[in-house]
Assembly symmetry: C2
Homo-oligomer: 124 residues x 2
């Protein structure tokens, strides 16, 4: 998001890497807080302030950045209500919701890996 140097090896490599659908997909959810946000939105739509409360460690700046990126990529829909003070709601799009079952499996993998790692380190 934050203005890329179009001709760095870094950026060119990313372009190459995301030619693969798999890497492309993972890239879309690769921001630090994106998955937590998507995961939270899976249950129900949330206001900006709701998300802030849910993740006390995220700064407003980061929350905005991540939400904007998710919106840009069509994973999240942003609705602004013409009220004062402002009210803005975020909810998943269809593409965003499509991550549901995948997240479920990733979560299971994570749990398994965690307990596996723990049992290995204990047996030392």
């Amino acid at each position: 998001m934050a203005a890329r140097k179009q001709n760095s090896t870094y950026t060119r490599n990313e372009a190459f890497i995301t030619e693969c659908d798999l890497t492309y997909a993972v890239n879309k959810i690769g921001g630090r807080w994106k998955i937590l946000i998507l995961n939270k939105l899976e249950n129900e739509k949330q206001r900006f302030s709701d998300l802030k409360k849910e993740f006390p460690l995220i700064t407003e700046r980061m929350l905005t950045l991540q939400l904007r990126a998710l919106e840009q990529d069509g994973l999240v829909k942003r609705t602004v209500y013409a009220e004062v003070p402002p009210r803005v709601e975020y909810e998943l799009t269809e593409m965003g919701m499509a991550f549901g079952p995948i997240f479920q499996q990733l979560s299971e993998w994570g749990g398994k890996h965690r307990s596996f790692t723990k049992s290995v380190s204990e047996s030392v």
Copy 2:
């Protein structure tokens, strides 16, 4: 991998974020070239030089870093043969193989998202 400042907000936030199994899992495959490597290893084990050939843009340094991280996390098994010149083979562990079906679905998501995005931009 590259020596973390234990008390930065950055690192503390990561610790917080990866308390969630889902984020934890995605973090394990989050390095730039990790997914491509895992994906390649899914078919069969590969030598260091095979991977280098497969991904011409990766540098030896990066390839080593990513493989070491994957090994550390128990997703990849490294076997060194006592030969000269050296021969080192990399293959998936069980935890590494467990990503198979997940990668399949992510890849499908990526393809869908790509064609969806294209059709939207065309209709403008």
